[in-house]
Chain length 242, copies 2
DNA sequence: GCAAAAGTGTTTCAATTACACCCATGT
DNA sequence: ACATGGGTGTAATTGAAACACTTTTGC
């Protein structure tokens, strides 16, 4: 109990569930970009795990688990990420704490993080029997309120990408402007003007000097996102750094 | 335990603090606008409560308390708000879940809300021996990480007011444009051009027809913020409605 | 040469900013 | 009358959007 200064008698002794404590879990919505199975266009994917116990046994759910007493919140999210994708997050931020009383038979508050990872091929290797990747807006009916949570995470991703340079975290170290634009188009769900996009994007990128040849058109230049000079120029949204 | 699908043996049995559970508290940063004690200009204030037990006995802290198993997160925040200011919140939103391992001697995760209330005179009445209002950027050294939390809440308030119409929640039902502008000036900490502010603000306001006389200049018109037609046009940030 | 995408230039439009100016009221 | 803020008008600036056009590669 942290900050309880006043405790009127009528609030100390609740109805019935007296000795029952509230338990705390940490889950993570992990986003990656991969080609859509039918259209082939870059699409948002996420990994889900199959529940191996009640409640909701057998249904798909967000990866996560109970918070260990010796573990920070973000560290917990990082671990589920490692378990599920085998990668360290390229971006990790707290999403929201979900605590509705009726979201689970027992009383569980879930602190949910969202993460961006690269869609390397290796990621496939980690997928076991109980982990499977889904296209983000084609997920089945999930356990608990996890559909809601994913909806909200997508909202946040789409909002954040418009004002914060996180798109490059889906991509390899060096990338073309077309690749970066495809990330934006996949997330926002609409086409962007290549000319205008280029001008805006270049304000935040630095050229590597190299370029990508081999396709049947003019070879595009490769860029990288410069590491920020100060530890965090504007810690606006409490991003968890590595 | 909600969504634990995989539990490798090395993670089930932690180091030492095995049976120790993590406990959960809900705290609220409550903002109101009042004249600054020396300059008299509108300023952000917030109420703090004095701790009546260890740890940090005697220090000021955010109002809050342990989460009851039969209570939703926002409901818990609403109660501390009622206890502390005697008012229902005019605005309530989840801020962040703070869970650093070292933030308290025992392991506590605090889910923090932030709220806006009107600075009615009545609010003074509720202030007991253990509750006191402080100017937001003149708070003393607080218990736990509560100084940090308040800093972050202020950041969020200042950011949010620039893109979301929450300023009017500091004000009575009907208000003048000058009052509304003073809210923005107090929160943002800089003067705004009255002419330009008016044009922008009018896009979201509706006139009441009445105006405010009695001052030694042209009487300003009174406006109100129209109730949104749909339940929530853009539930962008999971605002908790009443 | 042709297709396809990279990359440049230009025009239009909307929103913000700065600031000059008039209006209505109490003293 | 005049001080004080309420309220209107307007020109300058900025950035986003639309789109025509040139460049460079593979075939």
């Amino acid at each position: 109990m942290t900050i309880h200064a006043e405790a009127p008698a009528d609030r100390v002794t609740p109805t019935a569930v007296e000795d029952e404590r509230v338990s705390l879990a940490v889950s993570t919505v992990i986003f990656a970009l991969r080609p859509h199975p039918v259209t082939g266009e870059p699409t948002i994917w996420l990994p889900l795990v199959r529940r191996i116990r009640e409640p909701h046994l057998g249904r798909w759910a967000l990866p996560g688990g109970p918070l260990r007493p010796d573990e920070d919140l973000a560290a917990s999210a990082r671990h589920t990420l490692e378990r599920t994708t085998g990668f360290a997050p390229r971006y990790l931020e707290q999403l929201y704490a979900f605590g509705r009383i009726d979201r689970s038979p027992d009383r569980v508050v879930s602190i949910v993080y969202w993460a961006l990872v690269r869609a390397e091929e290796d990621a496939h290797g980690v997928v076991g029997d109980n982990v499977e990747w889904f296209v983000a807006d084609e997920v089945p009916a999930l356990a608990f309120d996890h559909n809601e949570i994913i909806e909200y995470a997508l909202t946040r991703l789409r909002a954040k990408i418009t004002y914060s340079p996180i798109a490059y975290r889906f991509l390899p170290e060096e990338f073309t402007l077309a690749q970066l634009r495809e990330v934006y188009e996949a997330v926002l769900g609409r086409r962007l003007d290549p000319a205008n996009f280029r001008r805006q994007a270049l304000r935040h990128l630095e050229p590597t000097g190299r370029c990508l040849s081999g396709r049947n058109h003019r070879p595009p230049a490769l860029y990288r996102f410069p590491a920020p000079a100060s530890p965090s120029p504007l810690t606006f949204a409490k991003e968890e750094s590595r």
